[in-house]
Symmetry: C2
Subunit: 201 residues, 2 copies
């Protein structure tokens, strides 16, 4: 990475200029029949599947190592920070969420896996946006001596991948935060759920 | 609930009319020094703490019942669905995220708890918005025969609370989805992490 990415300027975005995001004024009727308004953001990229994105909780198995997952680190302009996340991406045209999961995992991490499970459609931040996603579980079975594969990133994509034993994930996220990186809420919740199950009396 | 809430109309929201949400055109420089643009949404309600919101993973203990958590069901206009979420809310002025956690849990569920832990600041959907939050763990210790407390909702708030044993949470979320409700991604991830820790071989 030749230099640190950074935000140079933040301006108000007129709706007429927006290419990726739409701004919605939602008129709705509440439980008492009262007319109310809500403001929300929406992605303009949603395809026929009706789902914006997928994220991938990888289960990486190796004969000699503890079961691990893969997390990625990438700079995110909206929060001006390097974020720690599950591999994830938007769903392409004519692609199912399941196909997108296997493709995105390969592109962002180099690993080719097999879809074991995909969640129903879940919503990222339903007080603020229409954004939705599905969480896939993709299994990767490595052989002894397997080499770390090459990522298949697009030009202009800078993504670091890190393999982490599942039992160390929560502590690793705490450490990334202490080092000044920012953890994605969904990844944090997954690790916190795992940690609670393993430690709660 | 006298009637089902519903979306009546969705219009484009001009930036000049937006009261709760701001739209950002972010100029940033990438790792190669190239000037690039990103579009994002931001909440206008962020206070001096720099954190928009808190969510609460409650640990409810009772001498005769399995350890449980509390989830809430509420209609969310951006996704036009009843969402299943951890209790959560925006942080008030002159309030710390920790104080907000205990207050929101009480308002939305009626339970008064003690903060056991609060996460660092994590980001809700960093490709789309600046929204951030902290996840609190709040413990509630009940005595045998304790009655279910009253919620302390604001006028116009319609929130249903449900106590769920932690070991049943994941299956319960699957069932809510099948019934046509929509699960929040963060709650799903927490339950999926717990489920993986309990079931993975």
């Amino acid at each position: 990475m030749p230099q640190e990415p950074k935000v140079v300027k933040v301006e108000e975005l007129p709706a007429s200029e927006a290419k990726w995001v739409a701004f919605q004024k939602i008129s709705w009727q509440d439980q008492t029949g009262k007319d109310r308004l809500w403001e929300a953001a929406a992605r303009k990229t949603r395809k026929a599947t009706g789902v914006d994105a997928v994220a991938i909780s990888t289960i990486l198995r190796h004969p000699l190592r503890p079961p691990s997952t893969i997390i990625i680190l990438q700079y995110r302009p909206p929060v001006d920070a390097v974020c720690v996340e599950f591999p994830a991406g938007l769903i392409d045209d004519k692609e199912s969420p399941s196909e997108a999961s296997v493709r995105e995992l390969h592109e962002e991490t180099g690993y080719k896996g097999k879809l074991a499970f995909i969640s129903p459609t879940i919503v990222a931040d339903p007080g603020l946006s229409t954004a939705n996603m599905q969480l896939a579980t993709v299994e990767v079975n490595l052989e002894e001596g397997a080499k770390e594969p090459e990522q298949a990133l697009d030009d202009g994509e800078f993504i670091e991948r890190v393999v982490v034993p599942l039992d160390e994930l929560y502590d690793r996220l705490v450490k990334y935060d202490q080092e000044g990186k920012t953890v994605d809420a969904r990844l944090w919740h997954w690790a916190a759920g795992w940690h609670a199950a393993k430690t709660m009396l």
